[in-house]
Amino acid sequence: MELTFIKPFMFYFFASLTTGSALMVVIIRNPLYSAAMLVLTFFSLAGIYVLLNSEIIAVLQVFVYAGAIMVLVTFVIMLLNLRSGALINKPTHIIRSVVAVIFSFLLFICLISIFVSGNQVENAPKGVITAAAIESEGSFQLFSRALFSEYLLPFELVSLLLTVAVIGVVVLIRGISGAEENKQAKKGQGR
């Protein structure tokens, strides 16, 4: 590839975009704008995945997170009618924020120490699928083959999981609507 020299620049661009927009998600007071910033985070993460030669993960990231999940989040925000700063203006307990700061700092130290200690990252096991394999066969093909051969059982089990979730929701909702119908029937008899 003749454009390889751009790659580091692209990486730093997407990385700074990811961190910047993630920071904005926390800082911005209007929840709807926060959600929009989160979409931007997902998009720039997708850019990083593309740089790592895994186009399919990038596409799924945009479809699933930016497409489906963020629509749901936005929907909930609008449904609850959260105004700007509605969640932030509540006074937070001083002890709570101190504890939060301490724990986040500890987590930060842990992560940093893992990266700094020795050459963990170089020694980490590499995946079987190399960049050359992706180049010759394509990211989607490799992903699909793994999904339907090696990971067939988990894939099928997830469908069972979704079935169970749907049944569960239907059972609970029918219970609620059944109870309301009973109430209305009783009211009707009372009159």
């Binding site: 995946g127 051969s149 990971y151 997830v158 049944i167 239907v170 059972v171 609970l172």
Partner: protein, 498 residues
């Protein structure tokens, strides 16, 4: 070009099919397909609840027979995602037995409360299949999906009584805590994958053996997080907060199921997963210390909180934390005898716990939400037979010989002593002595105190159905027979190697 493509595809397909070995999954598939079948039967109008109860028992029975068929030699299938051996078969039998008992005690209870939703049994079967996948898994991915199938079914089962606020609360609380625990677990699995490059147990084992567990902080952190996530499911202290509220709020048969099978499955997974690190030299001290402290805390805190509980279901919730603490001591001692002792403890725990919840389901005709210890005053005069059965279950939980509870504790603590953890064994034995206090308090209330006149709780109104009595009597029979003759069962468990 296309011919070559189709050729490779067909050979790929052949290798996939030849490595699948669907036969190993026979019990799992039968139970999950049974769940779908029951869902369809639910479309029938009135009789569906009754038919489903019967069908659920049949399906679980067939599944447990199928587990016999897979044989005792360890076999792997689905590219090493599933490992079927005697160990996982024993767990399949345990789950099927728990499921059958739960169906037996559910039917009358659910009809009385007008929560006879026919899909309830379908969810129960799905939960059982999730449990089976958890312990048959030899890959963390299967474990996680199995755990989620189990959990999703349990959220709905715990909150199935829509009219009752407490049941809804129980469902919601269990949901939130489970999601939290799943996040722990998933984070841990991600770490393990990052460190070893695989989610398969054997690959993780190879990595741990060649690279020395302690020198890989990723693997260390991952295993600790997995342990933490499972401790939530087991409700080991300090991850026990959800237990009393969920036990109190959920419908009684669901509580009976919730307090036994998922905890046993979590332990089954932990035994299977941690056995991979058995030969790692040097064994990480921190990991051992954490398991031991989980065990000690669960035993002591569970007991202390149970001591002055007035509500019977909350007391049993705390006592179940203590019982899981005893099993955790066996887990801490990491020997083959400890594993067989733990298996024996699981079998004993099922008979004791399902039995005692069955008795409570019978006793609590209409107000089981506030079943206090005072309500049992003078029960022996009014209902002598029921009081006697209740007393046997309580004695067994307290570990009084010659009942099965004593044998189970004896095997666990002797295994702990054999591994040289004398302090842990002493703490366990002291705790089991302390726990006798709160179990015997109920017995004293039943036998030695005069009945209250205006308790608003009519013991005379107790009626029991055939199914409940079948569950109670078979539990009693198992408790007494296995309590007197524990050797055959423990010998059977001793032959099971991981």
């Amino acid at each position: 070009m296309t011919e070559i493509m189709t050729d490779t595809i067909s050979t790929n397909l052949q290798t996939i099919i030849s490595t699948m070995r669907l036969g190993l999954l026979a019990p799992h598939l039968i139970v999950s397909m049974g769940g779908i079948l029951l869902m369809l039967v639910s479309l029938l109008k009135k009789a569906a609840f009754k038919i489903n109860a019967f069908l659920a028992i049949v399906v679980l029975g067939i599944a447990s027979v199928c587990a016999l068929n897979t044989g005792s030699d360890p076999q792997t299938g689905f590219n090493g995602m599933i490992k079927s051996d005697m160990f996982s078969n024993v767990f399949i039998w345990i789950y099927c037995a728990t499921g059958i008992f739960t169906v037996l005690i559910s039917h009358k209870y659910m009809e009385r409360r007008k929560i006879n939703v026919p899909e309830y049994y379908s969810l129960l079967l799905f939960a059982v299949s999730g449990l089976m996948f958890m312990t048959s898994a030899s890959d963390l991915m299967i474990l996680f999906v199995g755990l989620e199938i189990l959990s999703v079914s349990l959220f709905v089962m715990a909150g199935i009584d829509i009219h009752d606020l407490r049941s809804t609360e129980a469902g919601l609380k269990y949901f939130l805590m489970s999601v939290f625990a799943s996040a722990f677990l998933l984070f841990g699995i991600a770490f393990v994958y990052g460190a070893t490059g695989s989610t398969e147990y054997s690959a993780i084992k190879d990595f741990a053996l060649s690279n020395s567990f302690g020198r890989s902080p990723y693997l260390y952190a991952g295993v600790l997080l997995v342990l933490g996530g499972m401790a939530f499911k087991i409700s080991a202290v300090p991850f026990h907060m959800w237990t009393p509220d969920v036990y109190q709020g959920a419908p009684l048969p669901v509580t009976a199921f919730l307090s036994t099978a998922p905890k046993i499955a979590s332990f089954g997974f932990l035994f299977k997963f941690m056995a991979q690190f058995q030969n790692v030299q040097p064994y990480p001290d921190l990991l051992e210390d954490i398991v031991i402290s989980l065990a000690v805390l669960s035993m002591i805190v569970g007991n202390l909180l149970a001591l002055n509980q007035e509500d019977l279901k909350r007391m049993l919730a705390y006592s179940s934390i203590t019982h899981m603490g005893y099993v955790m001591t066996a887990f801490a001692s990491r020997s083959d005898t400890a594993i067989s002792a733990a298996l024996f403890y699981f079998a004993a725990y099922i008979f004791m716990n399902i039995g005692i919840f069955a008795v409570i389901a019978v006793i609590s005709e209409n107000n089981d939400k506030n079943l206090t210890l005072e309500n049992f005053r003078g029960m022996a005069q009014k209902k002598p037979a029921m009081a006697f059965l209740f007393m046997i279950f309580l004695f067994s939980l307290a570990g009084i010989p010659p009942l099965i509870g004593f044998a189970a504790k004896f095997f666990v603590f002797s295994a702990v002593i054999q591994s040289g953890l004398y302090g842990l064994a002493v703490i366990g034995i002291l705790n089991s002595a302390v726990s006798a206090y709160y179990y015997l308090r109920v017995v004293i209330n039943m036998y030695l105190k005069a009945p209250e006149q205006d308790s608003g709780f009519d013991l005379n109104a107790i009626k029991y159905g055939m199914a409940e009595m079948l569950a109670i009597t078979s539990c009693i029979a198992a408790i007494i027979i296995l309590g007197l003759q524990p050797t055959s069962l423990i010998h059977f468990f001793e032959k099971i190697a991981l």
